[in-house]
Assembly symmetry: none
Homo-oligomer: 212 residues x 4
């Protein structure tokens, strides 16, 4: 498989850099930064270890780039959300659903984010890209809140970043800490049904929580 992937890559003109990044994302997501092996990333990519160093310089740099790419991607998706075109309450629901579905589909993003934070953020701190990829989200949420206030459906004085953090917390935590919670509370949270029930719960809680 590795071999054919390489060949395919050569044919399609896909460059080695991108192939390595994909392999790195998978490896880092699975094992964390410290658990990941450069050898393993090379093997996953079907290329050799030295190319990893040729393109990325070090394991730390590779991790940083992988993280940046993950953030870049989610920022792109957030732009598509277009919350402003929706009635305020629908906008909040869409935001919650987007967050849940994106995280459900991108476990590797959860893993990398949790890992990076658990380690104290050493790669984020070294990166300019994070500051530059200013999220449009806070502004969009701010506009939604103002519109909701104007329409009388939301309370006044809600801080958009705090709201974002609370929504992100409720969604991220569900996936990120599902393993220990399932173990402790004896309820399987990984089923679509459990997720659907939880989604309705946080939608209701948030919408009601924003009412004047």
């Amino acid at each position: 498989m590795a071999k054919s992937q390489t060949r395919a890559a050569h044919k399609t003109g896909k460059n080695a850099r991108e192939i390595i990044l994909n392999a790195a994302r998978a490896e880092f997501a699975e094992k964390g930064f410290n658990g990941a092996r450069v050898d393993s990333i090379a093997a996953r990519s079907g290329l050799n270890k030295q190319l990893v160093y040729y393109y990325f310089g070090s394991k730390d740099d590779l991790y940083r780039v992988t993280l940046e790419e993950a953030y870049t991607e989610i920022r792109l998706r957030e732009k598509d959300l277009d919350l402003r075109s929706l009635p305020p309450q629908d906008a909040i629901v869409r935001l919650i659903d987007f967050s849940l579905s994106y995280l459900a589909r991108h476990r590797e993003f959860i893993r990398m984010l949790a890992d990076e934070n658990a380690l104290g953020g050493p790669h984020v701190k070294d990166s300019d890209a994070f500051q530059r990829t200013n999220s449009p989200l806070i502004e969009m949420i701010g506009a939604t809140l103002r519109e909701g206030e104007a329409q009388g459906v939301f309370r006044k004085g809600i801080d958009p970043l705090d709201l974002y953090i609370s929504i992100a917390g409720m969604t991220f935590f569900y996936f990120a800490n599902g393993v220990t919670m399932s173990a402790i509370f004896g309820r399987d949270l990984s089923t679509p049904e459990a997720l659907s029930v939880y989604r309705d719960h946080i939608v209701a809680l948030t919408l009601a929580g924003l009412r004047p």
Copy 2:
């Protein structure tokens, strides 16, 4: 320092096992499971590496026990919460405040939990202790919700576990992912003021969110 710690331990009758566990908690919290070094744990404890193996058998087992102890401790504190003695809304506020202050004081718990989950829960899965340390919290929250319903201050049909997860999510995420969020949104979330503002936000959101 190491020597005097050992001597002090001997004087106070504290046993080696406990000393090692404390050192392990600090090391694992700081570096994560893979980043932690058994050598470093031994050095922190002021004892030698072989004793770690004498008492715990392996790095994995030591991690598991450390995690179990951390859970045991939080369960003890949760029992003291005594939510039933409070009016329903006050009980929810106390729950949120407890969660925030416990996590603020026990960053090592956050780190270990995030790390364990990021790695897929390998130690939790091997442990019977987790299943046995049934949390009294969900039941307490259930009673609070029922009382709130009876008094007409809470909506019907709220699932206590879902509520717990959403509160835990909002609080845990704030601390756990603070590093990347501060970096991306350019607001320092680690100040007491920022925390206080956020606390008021989630208290308001949750209380309003529970109203009928």
Copy 3:
């Protein structure tokens, strides 16, 4: 089992020293000197590790004593052979059969002897006991050969030690190197049938080989 063995030992008055020696023989035979573990010997004996040191001082000394005991035992059995009471040719057959059956029953003796020799005999060299436990065998074989010569059934000039070595070689090697030989030649040498055929071969070869 370990516990009951200890208790049994105490009841029967069997002393700890002997129990440890039995455990050591089994462990050394199974794993060789370097592969054997003092911990494992203690566990097998049902006693604790420190007693091993109390009685034997070191792993090397324990090995030496175990080897000496093994030799002492085979010397005792050799004395019972009483070759002198048999006609010369019968005596040789009895010698071969004794060697085969003793080795078949005492694989641990084979293992320890092979191991000690493979390591260059470090324990034998430190032991006075080996020199003192002068084997009666060579003298018995010498008498048998002289009697055979006198009766005209054996050639002259056969050295009893050389004969002993050749017989010991043919018998010892069969058991000692059976594993590699079975693997290489694809014939299972561990069956009673294979042993019986081989026994007849070396009896015939030796008796014919001694004829004038």
Copy 4:
């Protein structure tokens, strides 16, 4: 010395793999599998420890390959014996002399074989190479025996493998267990004279033993 050996190796085009194998053979022969140290093998080779793992994967695998190479070499020499070109009795003498001189010159082969068998053959069992390196010897001995029968100089019905084992036993045992035998019987068996006398003994015993 180590350095110059490496350089010399590079100059002569000898590759690292072969250098390591030579070092391994010496170390394993001297200390046995469990007594041998990977560090020591690396030091002997003048290369570093990690290369040992790069080329061989593990200590066990290195041992297996070393053992296979030792067998491969003796098989090559056995092919040169060309017993069929000799009169039957001379062929047997040549077989005995080959066995004695090969073992005398290759003590490391004796040590490794004894060690492997004493440990129960763990490496032989994992190896396909042993089964594949079918020895030509048994067939050659078989042909010699048939020719001897035809000429009336050998008895009928002698099994070639049994004969091989008895000869191998007499020769191997002399070298393999010489240390303990010298210690017990008080005769130095390591002198050329002692060997020469023993050689004549087993030649005479075997030839006479094969007569009709």
